[in-house]
């Protein structure tokens, strides 16, 4: 029987990445469309028990590999070697991983080690007689493509927010396994972990993003952006102009050389909507822009554009949101 595997990505604290719960949910629907393929979660890490238990809420079976070296070494290449050995032993058809930095590092090394192809950055996935068909948004959202793996086998990386995570009706079993083989790739030690000052909420899988651009005017201006994000329960994003000016860290940048996001709401404050920014956020469900220039490019693709000063309009929105929540 065809097998679909889900890589359970672990955060530094050993918890399961939210993205993996989405990927696992997607794997179950793909299995349903693939003649009842078996879904198996794989968790590989120094202390995998917690992550494995969490993943087992979403899939019928989880295989767990304890790999002590990931605790103080860059994980991607190590996990890829263990996973490649398991694939060699058990021969699943499809391996699904998240399309974030960890999943990409893993997928790249795994593909090289197994020779299996990669469908990267799927925004949807469905079964077909010829194997899974992945949907992609390419060329900055100008085109939607559907792609298949030759022979119906390979690796697929999945973008955040492709589906809403839903636990299975009953939790799955957990089985400890030990793949054969040595780690032959050079391991890269982590010699220190640095917590960035005031690390902001992650934009990767945020449901709501309030983003600021050059129009925000300075680091203090981002105070209003953060207040709006807090009032809406969202995260703070930014354009490259704001990042290059040093007003906000690069981790919050959205666009071609920043992150690609797909929130329910994107509130753009003082952002012109340059193509390199647009490619990172145009698939947001609702886009609202505040810009004093009615001809800014963002007015061509936002659902609503408020023509006005972002401080005045932003403060008015904030006041009304606070009034509502009492």
């Amino acid at each position: 029987m065809a097998g679909i595997w889900v890589h359970g990505e672990l955060a530094a604290d050993g918890s399961l990445a939210k993205l993996s719960t989405e990927v696992a949910t997607l794997a179950r629907s793909l299995a349903g469309e693939s003649g009842g393929a078996e879904v198996t979660g794989i968790v590989i890490g120094a202390d995998p028990a917690g992550g494995a238990a969490e993943l087992a809420r979403f899939v019928p079976r989880v295989l767990v590999v304890t790999e002590p070296s990931t605790v103080d070494h860059a994980a991607g290449t190590i996990v890829a070697q263990r996973l490649a050995a398991l694939i060699e032993e058990r021969d699943p058809d499809i391996v699904l991983a998240g399309a974030g930095p960890e999943g990409r590092d893993l997928a790249g090394a795994l593909s090289a080690l197994t020779g299996r192809g990669v469908l990267a950055n799927a925004i949807a996935l469905r079964g077909s007689p010829d194997g899974p068909i992945a949907t992609h948004s390419v060329f900055g959202g100008k085109l939607i493509t559907e792609s298949a793996l030759t022979g119906g086998r390979g690796i697929v990386t999945v973008r955040p927010n492709a589906v809403t995570a839903e636990a299975a009706d009953s939790p799955g079993s957990i089985e400890t396994v030990a793949p054969a083989g040595e780690l032959t790739q050079p391991a890269v030690p982590i010699i220190d972990r640095i917590e960035a000052q005031g690390a902001a909420a992650s934009i990767d899988d945020a449901r709501i993003i309030v983003a600021g651009g050059r129009g925000v005017g300075g680091p203090e201006g981002f105070g209003l952006i953060a207040d709006l994000a807090e009032a809406l329960g969202g995260a703070v994003g930014a354009t490259r102009a704001a990042v290059d000016s040093g007003w906000i860290p690069y981790s919050q940048q959205i666009g071609q050389t920043g992150k690609i996001v797909k929130p329910q709401l994107y509130l753009a404050m003082g952002i012109s909507g340059a193509i390199q920014h647009k490619v990172g956020m145009q698939t947001a469900s609702t886009i609202i822009a505040v810009n004093r220039d009615p001809d800014a490019p963002i007015a061509d693709f936002a659902d609503m554009v408020v023509v006005g000063d972002l401080v005045e309009v932003g403060q008015a929105i904030l006041a009304q949101l606070r009034e509502r929540s009492g």
Binding site: D105, A112, P189, I191, D300, M304, Q320
Partner: protein
């Protein structure tokens, strides 16, 4: 310090002209090619590191169609020393597996302390080639770099890898392969002198035969993935323009948020 930079020519995302041909492959005739954005950041870092070392070279390694030297000259104009281009008609239509194999084989023909790559490309955006090349070449792989600090005397390199909450400081012996981001710093503009000098810089060409790779295993023939369909995205709804005073404008924003159950 000798640094190889993996650079890919991509259709200019700002041109708006990217499209697929009838065969489901990128139609390169409809948009000008530029050096991939993330590759420019790592190239800039490579140039700075060699400048700081006071000796060495920056070698571009590109796998692309025969027209690539046009784009590679832009990177040479920024200051790269020379280019190596892997080009051969059967390479057309290569998937990431073939690209990874070809680049890893080409690296074997070069001597270097570091290999730098962008974290992803603006056209494919897979973000898998750099880790794949490192795995095939057996090089330590340090990814998502916000800083790169080689210590030539100790033969080691230190990288700050971007994490959700800050940085992991990674350290590896050289040679190593590092993927980098915009956080490495703004790329320089080529000077007039740089542009002139680039015309005479060497670009060596390698074929599949030079690398000992069977043409049937790469390109369209060996592709592990294929595009089966493409369509225009659903058009977005018309934009509602609000020109009222701040309080009234805010009321309309909040009403839309409530209507869409966002608050």
């Amino acid at each position: 310090m000798r640094i190889v930079v993996l650079t890919k020519p991509v259709p200019d995302p700002a041109s708006g002209g990217e499209r697929l041909g009838a065969d489901g492959r990128l139609d390169r005739t409809n948009s000008p090619a530029v050096v991939n954005g993330n590759d420019e950041y790592v190239l800039e870092k490579a140039l700075k590191l060699v400048e700081a070392a006071g000796e060495g070279e920056v070698i571009l390694l590109t796998m692309a169609p025969a027209t690539a030297p046009e784009t590679m000259r832009k990177a040479l104009a920024m200051g790269a020393t020379r280019g190596v281009l892997v080009t051969d008609p059967p390479i057309g239509g290569s998937c990431t597996v073939a690209t990874t194999r070809i680049l890893a084989a080409a690296l074997k023909t070069l001597e270097f302390d570091l290999v730098l790559a962008g974290v992803d490309t603006s056209d494919g955006g897979a973000g898998v080639v750099a880790p794949g090349v490192a795995a095939l070449a057996g090089l330590p792989y340090l990814s998502y770099a916000a800083s790169i600090e080689p210590d030539a005397a100790a033969g080691k390199v230190r990288v700050n890898r971007i994490t959700p909450s800050g940085y992991d400081v990674l350290e590896a012996p050289m040679p190593a392969l590092i993927s980098g981001t915009q956080a490495l710093g703004e790329p320089r503009y080529p000077s007039l002198k740089g542009i002139m000098a680039a015309r005479n810089k060497e670009i060596t060409t390698l074929t599949l035969a030079d690398l000992g790779i069977d043409a049937g295993t790469v390109g369209t023939a060996g592709a592990t993935t294929k595009v089966v369909d493409s369509r225009a995205p659903e058009p977005r709804a018309a934009t509602r323009v609000v020109r009222e005073e701040p309080d009234e404008a805010a009321r309309q924003v909040v009403a839309l948020l409530a209507e869409r159950r966002l608050i």
